[in-house]
Amino acid sequence: MSEPVLEVRDLVKEFAVGQGQVLTAVNRVDLQLAPGETLALVGESGSGKTTVGRCVLRLLDTTGGTIAFAGDDVTRLAPRRLRAFRRQVQVVFQDPYDSLDPRMSVGAIVEEALRELTDTAAARRGALTKELLERVGLDPDAARLYPHHLTAGEQQRVAIARAIACDPRLLVLDEPTSSLDPITRSEIIALLRSIQAELGTAFLFISHDLVTVRHISHRIAVMYLGEVVETGPVEAVFGRPSHPYTRALLASAPSIERGREDAGISLAGEIPSPIDLPQGCFLASRCPFVLDECRAGHPALEPVSRVHHSRCLRVTGHLAPLPEAAPESAHTTPNGVPTGNRKARVVDES
């Protein structure tokens, strides 16, 4: 039970989209992250998960709420403190090639992080760069190469080396594996987990890929239309998904274990516009379990168990409970799985 590294409270991010209209990308999000823990932010496009990551990194200014990191409010850091903050919070992006300056050698890219973010003496930087490259599983001589010489997996290793150069306390991983093939992806996930075990770094892992999330996360927060709709330990959210959106997400992802079986539950229509948010529950227009009351009041994120929260009136006891015999319950039990010997349930869709 240690102090959280990161505590996001009531985070709101709006974008002005002209004609006085406002797009609400992030809507009163609360998150906590303990040292050495991985919290996954999961959701489809338009869920606001990437915007949350950009706000935490202070690459974007927030509209409301607080982001507490090591006791400081990130949203109002003075430039001098911002520098100290950058030494403790780093990032790995989705597209590894795009995130490396094509004109800089691999060595120069990592050295730049050492120069900007650490007090390493100039003479030591070359040696340290090689150590970092070795740490992420690259040949230290790769320092001489340029990004276009590397495969996507190797490029992502360079981006990881750059991010851990300052030994950060928090790493924001924005879809770091979704452009990689499955084997490379599992190699990168293994690397990230070993780094976390060694350095005790907390990870904010942003992804739409449920398999990867299952492999790396301790806790998960499912986002829909700028809100967290369900959050809890990974076993609870995957094993006993409570919110209809989470259930639909898990049901839509095809998996080896479920094979041909159709999980049944699916969402109708399209995600509503974040410029003109609905009155009641944001999922009401698409939810297969919707009741009239769902369209009236906006549900709060309320506990299902001590650590598991859900934003659904039918889950948190305000309205008639969701039908237990929903078709998707089939994949919450490991029995009847075609291949038998695996406990896994859901596979990604990258």
């Binding site: 496009s45 274990e257 596979v347």
Partner: protein, 268 residues
Amino acid sequence: MSEMLHAEGVTVDYRDRQTLRDVSLTVGAGEILGVVGRSGAGKSILVRALINLVPPPGKLVDGEIRAFGTDLRAIGEAEARSLRGARIGVIVQNPRGHLNPLLRVGTQISNVYRAHHDATKAEARERAISVLRDVGIPAPEHRYAAYPHELSGGMAQRAMIAMALVCDPELLIADEPTSGLDVTIQDQILKLFRRSVDERRTGGLLVTRDMGIVARFCDRVAVLHEGEIVEQAAVPAFFSDAVHPVSTRLIASASFAADAPGPAEVAQ
């Protein structure tokens, strides 16, 4: 004719390197063949080779490709083109680049339909709108008149899929058609694909990185590795008995392995 596609000994050279070596595969009626492999294994080249459109400097140097019994390498370009539009549907990666930015999306789709059918403009429009609806585009009557830049990336991708489906092809060749799309949309599109193959006894070849898609939607699977097919099997058997190391690694990487991190020491 139950064989929709039959390829034998397909070999492609790219400059002085062989990118495809002696690839043989078939797609039967009512069947979807999944093609999987690591990036760089030659999956996208294979898709192009199968429609005899290998981009230079690549060169299809050897092999036989028959679609519905017709030798694709023997027929002229005009005949091949009418085959590709009407009876063979092709979905490539990076769909946005394949939409003409100056034409309305709906017009482009109905043009494809009219090129291969004797249909009036109104009929083609109706057909295009119904396909747009099938691939999950909301308000298709409205989107019909949109230009490509007015669509989101996912929406443009679905429009491309609609274009490949508008003629009800008997053979659909798709290269990662749903990569980057949200899972709920992906599910809808692949179900549509599966249903059309089942109901109309057509054939499909689906290149994917997602082993879950293979398990859910394919009947057989071919594993491509460094330009060669290293394993080919029926789907349930493949997941239980795959032997090639690439196959087993692909399967392992896509499973919820038991080595997920233990319960977190959460500060709550």
